[in-house]
């Protein structure tokens, strides 16, 4: 029973607890916090069942559940996970208890609402990752916005309203475009197969056709807004805002700076992955020809993101802004590896999504711990605090090194595979991207030096108290996977093999179908090297 509905249980447990909390009577704050932490821990515990029960050798989706919802419209409750969504679900369920524990003393106002929003956010995030029905995906995708908006807008810093609105509008603008594109695809599917269907893939064992089987015409075959490039562009804009890709990134630093620590961690750790996940889950398999065609654009923006994000990060004065801009650079790597369209790059890319969630999440946690003590994140306020806070300093340097991509820590594995894959696709993009590793060292170590080293000159820093037991526990928990992935990434990478190959196979089939049916194959920019790269990738 539990086995058959494990995925739904993991998805909806947090929301269920949140609703119960909402309806419950008065209770001390500690109860709200405790119940929320317990619920998130239980969710994580259940998701371990997913991890263990997942069969890495099987292609396709596992833990599948499907039930009619609005069957007349082709809308089903349809969930399932493959390796990619498994990793991201694990990341979400893992980060949530950490975040709740980390913000134990941080949040003082309306604690009940806070935990309500956090838990419902968790359901929305997991729901987005496991959704196999487009409608359902869209609902969860939009649902995520609401709690995040309130978390920034209510529990945030001084300019929280500006940041919340900016976050909201940026994302909303992209989402609306995606909605239009979704409807077009829905319509195309209906046109081709005569059924109203929003299932992403067909239920295993049935011959039904699903959205991913839709043949989206390439340029020149259909009405302009029904062709792959336009639809891809609409999706890319929606996902690109979330990633965020330059120049759609400016909401991110503001949102991070104003969000409370927990908001920043979830934002960086999970929400940004929605964008990259969307690309790999929808944009690539649905519009392979356009994706290949747009690869130079994506590569260019990714490399600009890597270098630009790093350089701008270097000159920030606020610790959170440094980390926020570093996310722009890191997500640039993720995009680069994804559009390398080979196994090496794509596996590195998905792994790097997890890595970024861990490393950057950990950095935001650490920044938050310092903020709780000094109520400032201005780098210039600090200096020499390795002396009063040695444990904090040690952990900060460790996490920094993971973010820089030091071997034996998680970041290296992802970055290396990404760059390796990208190099096979295009050395001209991969080489400047590789230079990002130099800049990463520059901006992070410069910050570390200004915060931790030198004499303690500011008297307020002299009496800083080192991390307490709760904070240590939080950090140890997050350092464990950082080391694990760095030293022995195999359990993660092997769980990705089948699903990554499946994405590449779909791209390849789509490319072949497109070029076979279309008289204008050359016009879509499918050149011999790209074709060779794809052939290589699908091997």
């Amino acid at each position: 029973m539990i086995d058959a509905h494990l995925l739904s249980l993991v998805t909806f447990l947090p929301l269920a607890v949140a609703l119960v909390l909402l309806l419950a009577g008065r209770a001390p704050e500690l109860v709200w916090k405790g119940v929320a932490l317990g619920a998130s821990l239980l969710t994580f515990g259940l998701s371990i069942g997913l991890w263990l029960g997942f069969d890495p050798t099987r292609t396709g989706y596992q833990f599948v559940e499907r039930a009619p919802w609005l069957p007349g419209w082709g809308i089903h409750y349809f969930v399932g996970i493959d390796g990619m969504s498994l990793l991201l679900v694990m990341l979400t369920t893992f980060l949530m208890p950490i975040v709740l524990l980390a913000s134990w003393n941080d949040v003082k106002r309306s604690v009940r609402s806070y935990v309500f929003f956090m838990l419902s956010l968790e359901t929305a995030m997991i729901g987005t990752f496991v959704a196999l029905n487009l409608f359902q995906f869209y609902v969860f995708w939009e649902l995520m916005l609401v709690p995040m908006y309130f978390i920034i807008g209510v529990w945030g810093g001084a300019r929280r309203v500006y940041a919340a609105v900016k976050f909201f509008l940026f994302t909303m603008l992209g989402s609306l475009l995606m909605l239009v594109a979704l409807i077009v695809v829905y319509y195309l599917h209906f046109e081709q197969f005569g059924t109203l269907n929003l299932d992403l893939v067909a239920l295993p064992g049935t011959a039904a056709r699903a959205i991913l089987d839709t043949h989206v015409p390439i340029a020149g075959q259909a009405v302009w807004w029904q062709t792959q490039p336009w639809l891809f562009a609409a999706f890319a804009l929606a996902f690109g805002v979330k990633v965020p890709m330059v120049p759609l990134h400016t909401w991110l630093p503001d949102a991070h700076v104003e969000a409370p620590t927990s908001g920043s961690v979830i934002l960086a750790g999970v929400l940004l992955k929605m964008g990259t996940y969307g690309f790999v889950r929808f944009a690539l398999p649905l519009f392979p020809v356009a994706a290949v065609q747009f690869t130079p654009v994506i590569f260019t923006l990714a490399v600009i993101g890597i270098l630009y994000g790093a350089l701008v990060s270097m000159v920030q004065k606020d610790m959170k802004r440094v980390v926020a801009y570093s996310s722009v650079a890191h997500l640039g790597f993720v995009m680069l590896g994804m559009f390398a369209l080979n196994v090496e790059g794509l596996e590195g890319s998905v792994l790097q999504m997890v890595n970024h969630g861990l490393s950057t999440g950990a950095l935001f946690l650490l920044v938050g711990m310092l903020y709780e003590r000094r109520h400032t994140r201005d780098i210039a306020e600090f200096g020499g605090i390795a002396k009063p806070m040695p444990v904090y300093a040690a952990l900060f340097v460790l996490v920094t090194m993971s973010s820089i991509g030091l071997p034996m820590l998680n970041g290296f594995v992802g970055e290396f595979l990404i760059l390796l894959g990208a190099f096979a696709r295009s050395p001209a993009f991969a080489v400047p991207a590789t230079f990002g590793v130099v800049l990463a060292a520059a901006y992070l170590l410069w910050m570390v030096r200004r915060i931790f080293f030198g004499p303690v000159e500011n008297p307020e820093n002299r009496s800083l108290i080192d991390l307490g037991l709760r904070e240590k526990a939080v950090m140890v928990a997050i350092v464990v996977p950082i080391l694990w992935i760095g030293i022995y990434p195999d359990p993660f990478l092997r769980r990705l093999d089948a699903s990554v190959l499946e994405v590449l196979r779909r791209v390849e089939v789509g490319m072949a179908g497109g070029s076979a049916n279309a008289p204008h194959a050359d016009r879509v920019g499918l050149e011999a090297p790209a074709r060779a790269a794809l052939a290589e990738a699908g091997r």
Binding site: Y149, L179, Y308, L311, V391, M408, F423, A442, F453
Partner: protein, 679 residues
Amino acid sequence: MVDGAIASPLLRWIPLLPLAAAAIHGVMLGLLRRTLTRGGVIALSCGAVIASFVLSCVVLGQLVVLPEGQRLLIDSLYTWVGAGRFSAEASFQLDPLSAVMILVVTGVGSLIHVYSIGYMDDDHRDDKGFQRFFCYLNLFTFSMLVLVLGDNLLLLFLGWEGVGLCSYLLIGFWYADRWNAYCGMKAFIVNRIGDFAFLVGIFLVFWTLAGAGHPTLAFRDIQAAFPAIGEKTVTLPDWLGFLPGAPSWRLATLIGLCLFVGACGKSAQLPLYVWLPDAMAGPTPVSALIHAATMVTAGVYMVCRLSFLYAAAPGASAVIAWTGALTALFAATIAITQTDIKKVLAYSTVSQLGYMFLGAGCGGYTAAMFHLGTHAFFKALLFLGSGAVILAMHHEQDTSQMGGLWRKLRFTHWLFLVGVLAISGFPFFSGFFSKDEILVTAYAAKQIPGHRALYAIGLGTAAITAFYMFRLHFRTFYGMPRASREVMAHAHDPDNTVMVPLWALAFLSIVGGIVGLPQVYGDMLGVKDSNSLANFLGPVLGHAAHEVPHARELGLAGFAVGAFALGLAVAWLLYLRNPELPVRLGQALSGAYRLLWNKYYVDELYDAAIVRPLVALSDLVLYRGVDAGLIDGVGVNGPARAVVGFASRGLKYVQTGLAQSYLFLMLLGAIAVVGWMVR
């Protein structure tokens, strides 16, 4: 597993023992804030490294009993990183080349660990500093051992970055001092520039081999598959048309050069040497172990490890040889004017590393490894000797404040002199043989353009080396004491934990040359195959490259002795015979003196040409201009203001609150969807 390779599960413990020690220290200090007793720290850290040394000797024993062509031990643990065709094992291999390296690393490492007990005892700047120091030192030993034992390029890179991290941590060990922290950061970032090229080199190796059907990064497989790609060429883009040989380059050359840029960073060669002199901010045992004996030689090891590639890439080899020679000369000239005892040694390290690259570039891989070994002995000796001086002088490092110390530090003085003689090439000390091997190799390297000029540079640098080393020795130990009476009264030789490693290293500095005794001397002594190092390394590195008649070789050795004598004589003249002369010389040649004293202004140049413009670009153009100005100012807030302006006039009743308007929008959207579907 390769045929003939024997599994030896002992291998893994050589790096893992120091790692375990470092991990215990790390958890205790970084998390629990508990310390071991001093004895506990010593037992754990020194015990781990000495155990590694013993294990190294054991596996060396296992190795040498094997027949010459099959000396290879393997210890495979698991697949570290694997995706698609790419796979890198966590696997160690021991061949003669690795064996030499692990002996140097664990041998010299053990001595320096013991020395550190005495040296760091004196340190009271930070609580728990003693244990923290040994934690980093153990971590370093682990990384360095992985670097030399790893059986593939990626594992080498792991060690490569690991030693870089430890270098960063140890240079900035006394972090309360801003300068130290700055130097640590500088070292890491400059090294990363090299690592960037190194990574590109790894990508090139992998994809080139994958293209030929051998996707691998394991050294043995690369070597086996190398003939398949040896002749492949790559077409350079037009804007690189000015390069020699353009537009068609051998891939081997390109790969070789990329990896060598990495070596330039790690091994402090032009133009990336700038971090090493500043690395002297770290405690002296660190300077000895990391920044002289082991880590900085990683680049040389890498070139030797891939000698089959470099042997097939004459272009890359020529660049290596010339970079090495020019670095040797360049650094030696800077060393002439420096007065900080550790700075002089640092520049001499840069210079000696240049010699190693000169040798390797000229095809003398064995000679480079030989010099690597002897240099580890005498430079560790010199650094540890300088550490003894610094302890005695209460952390004064400027030789302007020394002089006349030989009366107070009798043993230190003699031991330091041994180091000076060895590095200067005093006949039959270790450095004499190894430096000579390199010079003879350069002399005979017909395949390298300008090999005679390389020889001349090497010989000239040898004279300069003798000069600045004796200058250092004379200024430190002879002449009138310049330190305060009080300091001089308390100056004395340090105690045994410090002195015993010095004695051991001095012994090795004198006799260490025997392992690589050139055949020309072997013949005189009636020893067949006297160069046992070359014979041992031969199966890995190829046998001696040069064919120089014995008479000519002796003649060249004569020149080298002449260079030594010249340097010594000038130093004696200037610093003992006529101590006012250097001052007057400095005034007469003030331009040249200032240039050297300021190290050719290279740091200032980099700062003005790269660092400042980059920061200004990032801040003024990218951040304020593009991010805040263009995207946010024009793209986001501009329209937003327009909308708000419109809304405040026309739509203020709709704007009741964002959550509501959001729901409203959702509703509108939903209606639109439904409308579309049922139309």
